[in-house]
Amino acid sequence: MESNQIIILAIIATSLATFISRFMGAITSKKVSVKSKLFQWFNCVAYSTLAALLGRMIIFPAGVLADSELIIRIVVLIICIIIFILTKKNLVIPTIFSAIFLSLLTNL
């Protein structure tokens, strides 16, 4: 197969694999009441899974981020979280600073 076709198939496979989880979620949601314990459990699992993904993104990143030092990524993250708290939960300032800090520290 030529590479163009493989790319198109990969896009279709990726989109399907992603949409299945969303669509199944929408179907399940019709049967889950907000007040139920099941909903609370799903809520906890959702936050944990997301946190697990983020922990992994910082400790074992994919892509270009893997070329930066682990200790620098952690320092940048902690500084940005402190900025977030100090600026009364402003998200724009810490996100802009994160890119600048990481570039500066990597090139020291």
Binding site: T49, G55, V76
Partner: protein, 234 residues
Amino acid sequence: MINLKVFLTGLQSLKGSKSPAIPLAACFIALGALLKDAGFNLQQSTASSLFTYALPGQLVMAESLLVGASIINIFIAVWLVNFRLYPMTVSLFPLLEHKAQPKWKYYLSCHFLAVTSWLIAKDGYQKIDKKHRIDFWIGIGMGTWSTAILMTLLGYLSADYLNKDMLIGLAIVNPVYFFCMMIGAMKNLSISIAVVGGTILGPVIYLVSTEWALLFAGLIAGTAAFLLGEKSGK
């Protein structure tokens, strides 16, 4: 059909001090550049964000293609990394449910479900009248989704001008944004345990199994958080 005022309120979540526009731009510009590197053309890169719109899955796809993985392998790897969207949908959509709203709105708009839009919706849904919450969600979704698509396009077009240091800088923005949003969401004991537990277990289990790490870490930490929360009565 759609309450325009509520829809626009959702769309406007792109503005202000909690704006997701910068982190979304940063990560999808980086993705656009990466896809160009992986041999995608402009249309394919844009289509990827249009139809998939879930960054970790798109990264897995690009990296799998680069190492020559089969389509079946790509499907399974993406399904595992994006399975988080299932519990995320189930923990959001019941909050948007209203009998007066048609079902198609829910089944179509579930495509907008991604970490960014989910965190914004979870943060803001209480301010919206129950009857129109799904329109609020569609507003958030249209805003974040279209930003992601446009930025993928921009990233692809500007790939030649982005050096490696700039790409590394762009790549950290998104995890930092998500972490800050999650810390903002830690308003009760069970959510706090879920977030802290998941953050620790995710990388730990990753050492054992790269593919199943998210699923297991989420299930274990989430269930523990739920049980501890129940025990303490929150």
